[in-house]
């Protein structure tokens, strides 16, 4: 155990049939840092995310969050524990408005029960107002005011990416997993993302793990970088150290 680590991954491995998608990876993330996972396609980066958010079952190894073992926790508990995530290909609720999407992010904080909701008792209304206030904070942070009542299906790709980050923030996480936040974005939008990551880290005090290909963004915001290839850990250190690592260069250049 590394003292004070928010997330501690030990010897994590997952096999699909004969494929070792993640093969014995260990790392830890300290509170308040931006930890980036890089690597060529198929290196197992997103699989690590899916293991942390419990979409996949780990074959061996363990994941501890705030010292609590979550390797076998049910997937829906993860959000309540304080881990939120975004997806590589955007998994928003397309037939709902931005506001509704963000409100779904409040689900881990649901305190009302079914019967009171059916009758819409006064305390349900109060809870709804409180949820809405939290959501408005996120809207202000990410400048989404003008999109509140638009359907996701009508929004451009870049805005959807931001809404997805917003939805994750609405769960009030202590650990945020961002899966390729800049993929498909223009240069300006990528710069915005880099500012927001700083804001989220500094203002909200949220720890961030991110998978990213854009080396500029990685060098800008990351405190530490982990490089993976073929399910194995290649290098771990500051962005400069990892970029200078011979094994990493070999993996990217295929030499």
């Amino acid at each position: 155990m590394t003292a004070g680590a928010i997330l501690e991954v030990t010897d994590l491995a997952v096999h699909f049939g004969g494929v070792r998608a993640v093969d014995g990876v260990s790392f830890h993330v300290m509170p308040g840092e931006v930890f980036t996972i890089v690597g060529p396609n198929g290196a197992g980066k997103t699989t690590v995310f899916n293991l942390i958010s419990r979409i996949y079952d780990a074959t061996t190894g363990s994941i501890a969050f705030h010292g609590e073992d979550i390797t076998r926790a049910p997937a829906h508990r993860i959000a309540a524990l304080g881990i939120a995530r975004t997806f590589q290909n955007i998994e928003l609720f397309e037939h709902a408005t931005v506001l509704q999407n963000l409100l779904i992010g409040r689900h881990p904080h649901r305190r009302t029960n079914l019967v009171s909701e059916l009758l819409f008792l006064p305390h349900v209304r109060r809870a709804e107002r409180a949820h809405r206030e939290k959501v408005e904070e996120v809207i202000d942070l990410l400048d989404l005011q003008s999109y509140r009542n638009q359907f996701i299906a009508n929004l451009p790709y870049g805005i959807r990416k931001v809404v997805e980050i917003g939805r994750a923030l609405c769960t009030e996480p202590t650990l945020l997993l961002l899966d390729e936040p800049s993929s498909g974005l223009s240069v300006e939008e990528t710069e915005d993302v880099s500012f927001w990551i700083d804001d989220i880290k500094n203002d909200l005090g949220v720890t961030i793990i991110m998978v990213e290909h854009d080396m500029g963004l990685v060098a800008d915001v990351s405190d530490r970088v982990m490089a993976m290839n073929e399910g194995k850990l290649l290098a771990l250190g500051t962005p400069q150290e990892v970029q200078a690592d011979e094994g990493v260069q070999r993996a990217y250049l295929g030499a």
């Binding site: 997103t46 899916n50 979409i55 997806f87 590589q88 290909n89 998994e91």
Partner: protein
């Protein structure tokens, strides 16, 4: 020896379920659509065979003329839609541009129109003959009906089902259910809702063996044996088709990864429609083989497909051998439970007689629910989970 008879009969029935289930699975594997109209396609195919076989005993009723005209209009609409939508979508647009222009260019346009008119004339004659019957031999009617069934399947996909690709799965479920209703209504309107039948070269034939003094001989209906044999032949044929023909391999490719297949130049839409055609033809043959066993059929025979579903689910809805095996399991279970289960339920469990007699009718669904609960993926399944 009664057991042997029951087994043969159950296996034959199971083969029919299996063939229908095969159709479901073929379409599902390729397009992830579930064709709830499969049974009704089988029913239509069987009625085609009925129309080919029966003679001109039924006079041409006066309203066959408006129906023929309707058929022509529908045909025209279909042809228009097919022509309009097909060309650019097949291969990459750059290559198809010149062809598209050719079709719309002056001379070819009139030629096309002429071809269309000729086609409808044939269709009209066909439609009128259809209502009165052809009086063909069974041997000729079987392949002809199978081809007609195939054309029906192809058209359904090309004209209707293809249009809602990309919509959620339930849209396809509801659409195919509705198509099934339409076909049942059409068959009922043309041929009437009462029971029909046609004779085959082997109808009513039986094989007897065994049985001396005191014991009954084993009596096995030839229709059951023909079903079993026919199923075996069709399975081998399909295997060879998928394994060795170009289009068969293209179908496998398109089933595994549409987009990649499309980029490799496989005309995915056409391939999918062909898969519909094949499963419709297989269902038609299954239906025709079933008739001498059941002796009668009606527009309601399509409801058989719900039982065939159970078979497909038991088999795992993604595995072709699984579909046949699931069909056999269901068929045998039905045959045995109809004979033995009510007695057991009445004598041992003490159920009410009228209730106990109902159970064998739903045994297929009970088996299916049990399989779904124990192994939600079916007995022979592939992994299903969305990738993020």
């Amino acid at each position: 020896m009664e057991l042997l008879q029951l087994l043969i009969s159950g296996i034959a029935q199971g083969c029919v379920y299996g063939l229908l289930a095969l159709g479901f699975v073929l379409i599902y594997k390729a397009t992830e659509q579930v064709n709830f109209a499969q049974g009704d396609i089988m029913m239509m195919g069987t009625f085609f065979a009925f129309a080919f076989i029966t003679g001109t005993s039924k006079p041409v009723s006066w309203w066959s003329a408006p129906i023929a005209i309707l058929a022509i209009c529908v045909g025209a609409a279909l042809f228009y839609l097919l022509h309009k939508r097909r060309l650019p979508a097949w291969r990459d647009t750059a290559a198809s541009q010149p062809r598209l222009q050719q079709v719309t260019a002056g001379g070819a346009y009139w030629l096309n129109l002429l071809a269309i008119v000729a086609l409808y004339a044939v269709a009209a004659i066909f439609a009128i003959r259809f209502l009165s019957g052809f009086g063909m031999s069974w041997w000729l009617a079987l392949p002809l009906a199978a081809i007609c069934g195939g054309v029906l399947g192809y058209t359904l996909d090309a004209v209707i089902v293809r249009r809602i690709i990309g919509q959620p799965q339930f849209a396809v479920v509801i659409l195919t259910l509705a198509l099934g209703f339409m076909m049942r209504a059409v068959a009922g309107a043309i041929w009437g809702a009462d029971d029909k039948g046609f004779t085959t070269p082997y109808s009513g034939d039986v094989i007897r063996f065994g049985g001396g003094e005191g014991t009954n001989p084993v009596v096995i209906g030839v229709p059951s044996l023909v079903i079993i044999g026919g199923t075996a032949v069709m399975i081998i044929g399909l295997y060879l088709f998928f394994r060795f023909t170009k289009i068969g391999v293209a179908m496998q490719a398109a089933s595994q990864n549409q987009l990649a297949a499309y980029y490799m130049g496989i005309p995915v839409k056409y391939v999918f429609s062909m898969i519909w055609a094949i499963s419709a033809a297989v269902a038609t043959v299954a239906g025709i083989l079933l008739v001498p066993k059941l002796e009668v059929f009606s527009p309601e025979v399509g409801l058989l497909s719900i039982t065939a579903f159970a078979a497909a689910v038991v088999g795992g809805f993604g595995s072709l051998p699984g579909a046949i095996l699931g069909g056999l399991i269901i068929g045998i279970a039905e045959a045995l439970s109809t004979r033995y289960l009510p007695d057991i339920l009445i004598d041992i469990v003490g159920l009410d007689g009228s209730f106990a007699n109902k159970i064998p009718q739903v045994i297929a669904y009970i088996i299916m629910l049990a399989v779904l609960i124990i192994r939600p993926q079916g007995l022979f399944a592939q992994i299903q989970r969305k990738k993020v």
